[in-house]
C-alpha cells in the first residue's frame, strides 16, 4: 500500500482522499516511512518535522469527515527549499550565517501552499544562498543524487530535487536564478519549472539576484507542476515586481495538444551537450513532430554571451543582497572590538568560499571604475539575449534545448573549478536574463542510468502553451 501511495500524483491523491480510500494520516505515514529509509542516504533535508505534518494530516482528515471542502493541495507532502521563509522551520539558506534563525513570517508562496492545505514536511538543502549547481556548497551537508549516491543532484535546489526524485515528498519548491530549479530537476529525473519573472511573488525568498530569481515547483509529473504553479502564481502586493496578471489556468489545457505549434531546436545550445543528451533532445523533437508540431532548427549564437553577463549581474546583485548579514540584527555574530571588526569577523566566519567568491566578484563589478565595463555591458547583453529570443519567437512558438549539457557529475568533480561549474548553467541562464518561462522535462537516462532532461523555453507569459508542449513531450517519451 505504502509504495502505491508514493506513486500517486496530486490529482490521484486528491481523488483517493476524497473517496476515503486512504486517509491523510496514511499518506503522511507512507512518506514518513520513505523518508526514514531514504534520507540517511540522500541527505536532502536540512530540517524535518513529521510530527507537525502528522498533526496537520489529522486535522485535515477531521475537516474532511465534517464535510469541509479542502484546498487543492490537501494531503500533499511538500518540501521547501531552505531559502524560503517559514515560521514553522528555521530558514538558513544552507549558510552558517543564519544557523538557527527562524523567520517571524512566511514567504508568500508558503502562505499560498498552506492556504491550499499543502503539508510541509521539511526544508531542503541547497548551495549556500542558492549559489551553485551541485548542492555541494551547503554549509551543512552534501545531498546525493538518488540515482547514484556518488553523484550530485545538481543545484542549487538539489535538496528539493532529490527529495522528489526519491519520493520523500510529492512536491518540492525551489528557486531559479540561473537554472537552479531546472538543472537539478534534469539531473534527478523530475520536472522543474521556472515561471515568467514576476509570476510568483519573491516575498520571503532569501534574495540571491533579485532581477533573476523566480520560485517554482519540482515535481514527478508535468501535471503536478501545473497544479502547484497555479496555486503559487498571481499578483502579490508585497512584491513590487510581481505581475498584475492573474494566474493562468494550466492544468485544464494540458491535453489540448501541440498540433500546429512551431518549435525551434536551439542548435548552438544542443552543441554544448554530450551526445546522449543531444539524442534525448532529438527524441523530444520527434515526439513533438509526431504530435503535430512543426519542428525546425535555429541557432541563437548571442545566447553564448549569457553566461558572462550572468556572472556579472548575479554576483553584483548578490553582493548587495547579502550585505545585510552583518551580525547586527539576526543570525551569527562573531566578536569584534568595533562594529566594523565585528561585521568582518561575522561575515568571514559565516559565509562559505563560493558565497565569498561571488560577493567579491560582484563588489568588483560594481566598484568605481569597473561599473561600465562590467555591469552596464552585462545589462546590454541582457538586451542582446532578449533581442535574440524575440527574433526566435517571430519564427517559433517555443524553443527546445538541453537543460544541462551533461548528466549528474561526481561529487567533488567540479567543486575545485568554479568556471567549469558555472558552465553547467549555459542552457538555463538565458531564460533568467530575459525573464522568460522555461521547463525541464525528464527525457530518459544515459548509459550509466543517469537521468537526462530536456528544456522547453517560451516567451514571457506563455506558460499555458509551454505546459501543453511539456505534457506532450512527457507522454510521448514515457
Amino acid at each position: 500500500m505504502n509504495d502505491e501511495i508514493l506513486d500517486w500524483g496530486i490529482a490521484e491523491l486528491a481523488r483517493r482522499l476524497e473517496s476515503r480510500e486512504v486517509t491523510t494520516v496514511e499518506v503522511i505515514d507512507a512518506y514518513q516511512e520513505q523518508i526514514a529509509i531514504q534520507e540517511p542516504e540522500v541527505d536532502a533535508f536540512l530540517s524535518l518535522d513529521l510530527e507537525a505534518a502528522r498533526r496537520r494530516a489529522i486535522d485535515q482528515d477531521d475537516r474532511r469527515s465534517r464535510g469541509e471542502t479542502l484546498g487543492g493541495l490537501a494531503g500533499v507532502p511538500i518540501a521547501l527549499k531552505d531559502n524560503l521563509c517559514t515560521t514553522a522551520f528555521p530558514t538558513t539558506a544552507a549558510s552558517k550565517i543564519l544557523e538557527g534563525w527562524t523567520p517571524p513570517y512566511n514567504a508568500t508562496v508558503v502562505d499560498r501552499i498552506l492556504a491550499q492545505d499543502g503539508i510541509v514536511v521539511g526544508k531542503t538543502n541547497l548551495d549556500e544562498f542558492a549559489m551553485g549547481s551541485s548542492t555541494e556548497n551547503s554549509a551543512y551537508k552534501v545531498t546525493k543524487n538518488p540515482y547514484d549516491l556518488e553523484r550530485v543532484p545538481g543545484g542549487s535546489s538539489g535538496g528539493s530535487a532529490a527529495a522528489v526524485a526519491s519520493r520523500m515528498a510529492l512536491v518540492g519548491l525551489g528557486s531559479d536564478t540561473g537554472g537552479s530549479i531546472r538543472q537539478p530537476a534534469s539531473l534527478t529525473g523530475v520536472v522543474g519549472f521556472k515561471p515568467t519573472y514576476g509570476r510568483v511573488s519573491r516575498y520571503g525568498l532569501l534574495a540571491f539576484a533579485s532581477s533573476l530569481d523566480q520560485i517554482g515547483p519540482l515535481t514527478a509529473s508535468v501535471e503536478d507542476a501545473a497544479l502547484v504553479a497555479e496555486a503559487i502564481m498571481g499578483h502579490d502586493p508585497r512584491d513590487a515586481t510581481s505581475l498584475q496578471e492573474a494566474a493562468p489556468s494550466l492544468v485544464r489545457p494540458l491535453t489540448e495538444g501541440v498540433r500546429g505549434i512551431r518549435v525551434g531546436i536551439v542548435t548552438n545550445l544542443v552543441d554544448t551537450a554530450t551526445p546522449q543528451v543531444q539524442a534525448s533532445v532529438l527524441r523530444a523533437a520527434e515526439v513533438l513532430t509526431q504530435s503535430g508540431a512543426s519542428v525546425a532548427e535555429i541557432s541563437l549564437d548571442e545566447l553564448a554571451f549569457g553566461l558572462a553577463a550572468y556572472y556579472v549581474v548575479a554576483p553584483a546583485e548578490a553582493s548587495s543582497n547579502l550585505a545585510r548579514y552583518d551580525g547586527v540584527r539576526y543570525g551569527l555574530r562573531e566578536a569584534g572590538s568595533t562594529v566594523e571588526e565585528m561585521m568582518i569577523a561575522t561575515r568571514t566566519k559565516g559565509f562559505g568560499p563560493e558565497v565569498k567568491r561571488r560577493i567579491m566578484l560582484g563588489t568588483y563589478a560594481l566598484s568605481a571604475g569597473y561599473y561600465d565595463a562590467f555591469y552596464v555591458t552585462a545589462q546590454r547583453v541582457r538586451t542582446l539575449v532578449r533581442t535574440a529570443f524575440s527574433r526566435a519567437y517571430e519564427a517559433f512558438d517555443l524553443l527546445l534545448c538541453p537543460t544541462s549539457p551533461t548528466t549528474a557529475f561526481r561529487i567533488g568533480e567540479r567543486s575545485s573549478d568554479p568556471v567549469e561549474m558555472y558552465r553547467s548553467d549555459v542552457c538555463t541562464i538565458p531564460s533568467n536574463l530575459s525573464g522568460d518561462p522555461a521547463i525541464s522535462i525528464p527525457a530518459g537516462v544515459d548509459a550509466d542510468g543517469l537521468p537526462i532532461g530536456v528544456q522547453l523555453l517560451g516567451p514571457a507569459l506563455s506558460e499555458r502553451l509551454l505546459f501543453r508542449a511539456a505534457y506532450a513531450v512527457e507522454r510521448g517519451l514515457r
Binding site: W101, P104, Y197, G198, S211, A240, T241, L243, Q244, A304, F305, A308, A309, Y311, V312, S319, A323, D326, G327, V328, R329, Y330, G331, L332, R333, G336, S337, T338, V339, M342, M343, I344, A345, R347, T348, F351, K356, R357, I359, M360, L361, T363, Y364, S367, A373, F374, V376, T377, A378, Q379, R380, V381, R382, T383, L384, R386, T387, P418, V419, Y422
Partner: protein
Amino acid sequence: MTNRIDQEDVAHIAQLARLSLSDEELIEYQSTLSRILEVIEVMNSEDLSSYPPMDHPLETVNLLRDDVVHQGLDREVVLAMAPSSEDEYFRVPRILGAP
C-alpha cells in the same frame, strides 16, 4: 595566464565587502577571480553599443502601495532574534576604534 586583478584590488574589494582573507585566500581569490573575469570579458568581444542596458526584465512602472498602516512585528520577537540587545535596543560594539 595573466592575472586580471592584482592582490591589492582583491584586498580592497574584500574590505569593501567586509570580508577578511588570509594570505592563501588572497592568492586563491586572485587566481579564480582572474579566471572568471577572463570568461566574463568575452562580452567585450561584441559591439553592444546598439543594445541599451536592460535593468530589469519587467517594463512596468508605478507599482505603489497606499499609505495605510499595517501591523508590524512585536519588539519581543524582533529583539529575540538579535545576537545582542540591551533594554529595548539592539546592541553593537563601538562604532569607532579606541582613541
